[in-house]
Amino acid sequence: MEEIILKTEGLKAFYVLDVYGKQKTVKAVNDVDLAIRENEIYGIAGESGCGKTTLLKTLAAAMEPPLRIVDGRVCYHIAGADVDVSTLSQEEIRRLRLEYIAYVPQGSMSVLNPVARIKDTYRDFIESHISTQQRDEAFLLAKEHIVELGLPPKILDAYPHQLSGGMRQRVTIALATLLKPRIIIGDEPTTALDVVVQRGVVQLLKDVQRKLQNTIILVTHDMGVHANIADRIGIMYAGKIVEEGSTDKIFGDPEHPYTQYLINSLPKFGDKTPRESVPGSPPSLANLPPGCPFHPRCPHVKEICKQEMPGFTQVESNHKVACWLVGEGEHGKAA
């Protein structure tokens, strides 16, 4: 088995807010254990407001108040040793960004400076991480990198608004991969794009991963993208991972009722049988129902679901589910 490059242990990251003197806690990441391996594409799927983006922020060590880690830890695997992110200084974290962990956000328009040419943005990136770089050298490095990724070099002279949405997103990916990071985090990198362009961007991400042999953590709610690119998928619901398994398992044999709804609601070509959405609405993270957070929407709800959150049941070596319906009586806390 490949080495684990990033892991979280019992991670709880809450937004602690003070609203008119009343304390309000938004439990965005609630007891998450992840073990992400080297050289894999790990997909995280879930509804909006389930805590996906907050999870990514904690993974990238980019937390700002009111978000804070309440319990648990995030570990990077650097040079053969596990490093707890909370022990690092701001300067060390800054150094790790781009070199170890890089972030591809959703809205590429707000990433690129609208009044600077692409090459100037590149130079900023390069100068902040590699010292004693000459202007021309930085430009050459950027050009090499762009060509390597199969993008036309003339875009370096363009302003962001002159590029199409898909090209901007690909430039953002190019920027994120400039220093060959071990982990790339993609937060809905294809959501705002057209289908044809989305395919191009996914193609680029796959190419980059194949070349660098690194890890991609991809968050999107588009299950089609997950089916196409991910090796393993974690299904997130109300701040928790409720099911995790290989892509084939998640799509072929989902165990959690929520995952089943997600997979079965997808329309398919050549099949017009009625599809149902998940009933009800997602719960508020500030006011979670007791027990399993999915129980108010679950068609198979039992008495125990309303009282206690199930731990993980290992269905197969590569597939675990947190649901009382699966392997009754074998639940250990967070297996």
Binding site: G224, F269, G270
Partner: protein, 321 residues
Amino acid sequence: MEKLLEVEDLTKTFTLGSVLSRVKITAVDDISFYIKPAEIFALAGESGCGKTTTARIIMGFDHASAGTIIHGGKKEAKNEKVWFTEGIQAIFQDPFGTFNPLREVERYFFETIQNYKLAKSKQEAIARIDAKLRLVGLTYEDLAGKYPSEFSGGQLQRISIARALLTDPKLIIADEPVSMVDASLRMSIVNLFKKLRDELGVSVLYITHDLATAYYVCDRIAIMFRGDIVEMGTVEQVLMTPKHPYTQLLRASIPEADTSRRWQGEIKLSDTETDEYLRQGCRFAGRCPLVMDVCRTTTPPDVIVEGAHVSCHLYADYANS
């Protein structure tokens, strides 16, 4: 055959640039289609293909450069929007942008009732609102006194549909109604359109880039590319056996939720959109894998191939037969 709405030779041009360097972009180029009663018709394509411009012209937000729109046997007259919008209502892409966050949601309903003089008293108005909300699975109680922030995106989109239904429209224009709604709630909106068609006989012009839901819900579909309709027919014809190379590309680019059908091969993307709009001949020629010399010079003919309208030189033989 009865036609609820007919669009004939619709053209819209926008001018870019200053006085000295004018570029004319034809956003919608001479398109024609019709919608039958109780039918869901999809207008599909990528962003910038002109589908929203077409919808805006039908709704009366923009004026066409050329062409006519015939609704219920009457031509569109200028400055006569009320008769026009009573039969046609619209819902938009962003459910959070549709409603003012500082305004109670129910006020939109009362406003519509007032504008169209649909009720004589407040009780009558509430009864009407409640009846329409029940069609989308909500009640007036759920709504009374609440602000948009108290609803999820899916709920707000259903509320927009209920608001559109107040005037008993014959046609609902839905501009990307599910693209901002979470994937897990998408089907509840799409199923609603089916229900409206089957139970109330409402037609829907479903504007989308999501071909999978279009296949699921629609009867007929038109694929637009850079202002042209390149292929039109029933969803079975167009999406299951696509003829035009662009439709084929579009169809192959949809990520299917099936791990055995991952994408194969590479595709080519366009660098800028204006290049394609200004292209002579077929606008897809720059990216088409089957491009011929004639494509770069001549506009392709509109021919009927196995029941579907296709605009492509590959099928030029069908024009004579």
